[in-house]
């Protein structure tokens, strides 16, 4: 690549949401005629970076250069006019318009002042033909399958004069043939000199298509690599990262193998959830911490949903303390002492505008019922004791939770669940996007809870953390629990190998 100027260059890109930096001084280059893959876990900053490039989000710091010239796009439309087209994971087209109208939307061909439908159909037809799609341009978009709609979105992106094509998870709804067709088109565009930014969770696809890979983690740049020189296992390691932090080594409560028999709090058999988990078996003893390791899309979150009544089972059985239960809502799970903390703290966790006090007591109050209000004094006392126990800062009960830092928001959420005195705590990435100090505190807290007899399912993208916190670790891949290992018997590297191994049953 030496001697060739990057077509698109981003330097020092920084985007902040409140106190948290979603993107922290990241550099990114994209050369003409290459496929460049952007890799990272949830919250690594991939979408933020894409939005910064496509003008959907304004950067707080940093410069974007297109063909050497500094540019600043106020809207995605401006970026489009400059030749940057984007296809998002969720289709952003209009199902009530025809395929041709969708492809030409916003740049309808005109003859004088009048829109020419004939020209429009011709242009759309050409774009579709390029993708090898046999589709009537006059048909309504909404009548086609999601996969076809996704391909139409791509046709729309390439029908314009495109210099940079951003594909954000374009293959998640396509089947194998369609993926192959898409890859053919991508290679053609690449040969024409288009610079392509390709985001996908499927490592196989990345290794098949990408020339180079840029890895992000927690909003920071990990590095840029040539695909041929980066081993798959190294890539996964860079994505998941390793944070070294001092942790009170948790002496594993002298396991006299008492778990045999009555001790099982949770026993799940053949748990299957549509588009998520296949035939998962989980067993958890009192006071045990089960770590769950797996990449994004491995089914780790779906498993958590299945165990806590958030998602309904397609098949399989869950027994809580030996009783077979059909969990039909989170509320139902809560009454059985099974509680869940979502990986998406902001969207599914905190009630941002309500106070710390209201947030901590929310679940307990709704369990008691609307008309059995917790007396105000008792309520404050309760919340204050949790704020104290978890060291929530600032220790102000009346402050809206949305104004707290990520780590403290997470602690408020934990307090909400712990106030219910649950028997089984399912934590989905409880330490994501929070600072190292709070991370260690939460890890230690989980250890203490388990020592006091609470069972915990601990899901995390960070393998070291899973190993440190968990007694056993379930490894997930493609919706299946492929292996359950005793944490003391594996190293981070051997766990990494289990997580990264390409699925033998796909393709």
């Amino acid at each position: 690549m030496d001697g060739v100027r990057p077509l698109l260059e981003l330097t020092g890109a920084t985007v902040r949401f409140g106190a948290d930096a979603a993107l922290d001084h990241v550099d990114f280059r994209l050369y003409p005629g290459e496929v460049h893959s952007l890799m990272g876990e949830n919250g690594a900053g991939k979408s933020t970076l894409i939005k910064a490039i496509t003008g959907a989000l304004a950067m707080d710091e940093g410069v974007l250069r297109l063909a050497g010239e500094a540019v600043a796009f106020a809207t995605p439309h401006e970026a489009q006019l400059a030749g940057i087209s984007t296809v998002y994971q969720e289709i952003e087209l209009l199902p009530n318009l025809s395929v041709a109208e969708n492809i030409c939307l916003g740049r309808e061909p005109r003859r004088g002042a009048v829109m020419s439908r004939r020209l429009m159909r011709e242009r759309a037809g050409a774009a579709l033909a390029e993708l090898g799609l046999e589709l009537d341009p006059a048909s309504l978009l909404g009548t086609h399958s999601v996969a076809v709609q996704q391909l139409v979105a791509i046709a729309r992106a390439i029908s314009a004069d495109v210099r940079v094509l951003v594909l954000d998870e374009p293959t998640s709804s396509l089947d194998l043939d369609e993926v192959a067709e898409l890859f053919r088109v991508i290679r053609e565009l690449k040969a024409r000199g288009v610079a392509i930014l390709f985001v996908s969770h499927f490592l196989d696809q990345v290794y098949e298509l990408a020339d180079r890979i840029t890895v992000l983690r927690d909003g920071e740049l990990v590095g840029e690599y040539l695909t041929g020189e980066l081993l798959r296992i190294d890539l996964v390691q860079k994505m998941l990262g390793r944070t070294v932090s001092e942790l009170r080594s948790r002496e594993r409560a002298a396991e006299d193998d008492a778990e045999a028999g009555a001790g099982a709090i949770l026993r799940a058999r053949g748990v299957t959830v549509a588009h998520g988990v296949v035939e998962a078996d989980v067993e958890l003893a009192e006071g045990e911490v089960l770590g769950v390791a797996g990449l994004l899309g491995s089914g780790r979150t779906s498993l958590a949903h299945a165990l806590t009544g958030v998602a309904r089972l397609e098949s399989g059985e869950i027994r809580v303390e030996g009783e077979s239960v059909r969990l039909d809502s989170p509320r139902h799970a809560i009454t059985l002492g099974v509680v869940y903390s979502s990986e998406n703290r902001r969207r599914d966790g905190i009630v941002a505008e309500l106070s710390v006090l209201d947030n901590i007591t929310l679940a307990l109050q709704s369990e008691r019922g609307v008309f059995r209000r917790i007396p105000p004094a008792r309520r404050r006392e309760l919340a204050a004791s949790w704020v104290d126990a978890l060291d929530i800062r600032p220790p102000d009960l009346d402050r809206p939770v949305g104004t707290l830092s990520g780590g403290n928001q997470q602690k408020v959420l934990l307090a909400r669940l712990l106030a219910l005195s649950p028997r089984l705590l399912v934590l989905d990435e409880p330490t994501r996007g929070i600072d190292v100090g709070a991370k260690v505190e939460i890890q230690n807290l989980v250890g203490e809870l388990a020592d006091n007899g609470m069972s915990v399912v601990f899901i995390s993208a960070e393998l070291e953390e899973v190993l440190r916190v968990g007694d056993r670790v379930a490894v997930m891949r493609d919706g299946r629990i492929v292996e359950t290992v005793v944490a003391a018997d594996v190293t981070t590297d051997s766990l990494l190998a289990l997580v990264a191994q390409p699925g033998e049953d796909e393709e």
Partner: protein, 349 residues
């Protein structure tokens, strides 16, 4: 000092007081209150009395809006309620009998409650968007009311029924007292039980609330039932005032005035935090404005324009963004040279 400015009722109250002062200056008798036979009379008392239907409807609307919803059917429910009550009274052998009137009122309110439950069912169980779900009844309700009255404007002459709108109790208009009772009951139920905070939680973040085990469905459903029931009572007052059930005129546009009152009172249409006191002030602003237009002798052709202008001014004065912008501007002017640059970023949800 600054704490008073920041209180969310500060600006609505300023608007209300300003309106009253303008009126008092223009026509001093505006603030005069007469006592006649132990009953209070005067323009201010009339405002309190006339505000009752809007007050009831706006209270219900507040709760519905707090759940991120909206109830467009309140006007139509008023029409149905009036039609039911008057048809019963009209058909009774003795329209002047207190028992008859009582039964008529109870039946009318029960019918309204059922209509509210229907709205709530569509929104919380079927999952239809609130604006569409309540639009159904908004359009169909008046038809139902006409069906009940047989297509006529049913008129009655019933002493006890007229008492609802024009009677006096403890020296105050009975209609106003109905509003006060509704305010008190609603405030107690929302704030003395956990309903208020759970409603706010559902309105701010429905998914997080569901995961925390909140019965969001029941809470949303309940909000529409409250709204429908209060609209029913409002319909009784309206029909009592004109001693007739006019299905085409009862509660026309009241849903829009109610939404306006809620917003003037500082409750966001995005749901979540709500203020019953704010809504009460909002209703009084609207009603005072209405009287102002009459007092100032604005011609009926011009009154909507006048109304619109005042509302726009009130809304602009209340706009937090505008005030923050002004505050930032003055701060920048003051600290010019200090080089302080403060770019508040709005959090992206």
């Amino acid at each position: 000092m600054t704490a008073i400015y920041r209180h969310r009722l500060f600006w609505p109250i300023v608007a209300l007081v300003t309106l009253i002062v303008i009126n008092a200056v223009a026509r001093p008798q505006f603030i005069k209150i007469r006592v006649q036979d132990g009953e209070l009379y005067g323009p201010l008392i009339s405002i309190l009395r006339d505000s009752a239907p809007l007050m009831l409807v706006a209270l219900g609307m507040t709760i519905v809006i707090a759940t991120r919803g909206i109830d467009l059917s309140v006007g139509a429910i008023m029409a149905v309620s009036g039609a039911v009550a008057l048809t019963i009274i009209d058909g009774a052998e003795d329209p002047g009998n207190v028992g008859t009137v009582l039964i008529a009122c109870i039946v009318a309110v029960l019918v309204s409650l059922v209509l509210g439950a229907w709205n709530g069912f569509l929104v919380s169980v079927v999952g239809i968007q609130p604006i569409i779900a309540t639009l159904v009844l908004m359009l169909a309700g008046r038809g139902v009311a006409l069906l009940i009255t047989g297509g006529f404007i049913t008129t009655v002459n019933s002493e006890p029924y007229s008492f609802i709108a024009s009677g006096y109790l403890f020296a105050l208009p009975f209609a106003f007292l109905i509003g006060v009772v509704a305010i008190v009951i609603l405030s107690l139920v929302e704030r003395r039980t956990a309903l208020g905070v759970l409603t706010e939680a559902v309105g701010i973040n429905p998914e997080a609330s569901r995961l925390a085990g909140v019965r969001s469905r029941s809470i949303i459903w309940g909000a529409y039932i409250v709204s429908g029931t209060l609209a029913g009572v409002a319909g009784l007052i309206y029909a009592s005032n004109i001693k007739a059930a006019d299905a085409n005129a009862a509660g026309v546009f009241i849903e829009l005035y109610a939404i306006l009152a809620v917003v003037l009172g500082g409750t966001s249409l995005n749901g979540g935090k709500f203020s019953i006191a704010g809504t009460v002030v909002g209703v009084l602003i609207i009603q005072t404005l209405d009287s102002t237009i009459l007092f100032l002798g604005v011609s009926s052709a011009q009154s909507p324009v006048f109304f619109a202008i005042v509302v726009v001014i009130v809304v602009i004065v209340q706009s937090a963004r505008l005030r923050d912008g002004l505050a930032a501007l003055t701060a920048r002017v003051r600290s010019r040279g200090a080089g302080v640059q403060d770019s508040d970023k709005v959090e992206v949800a």
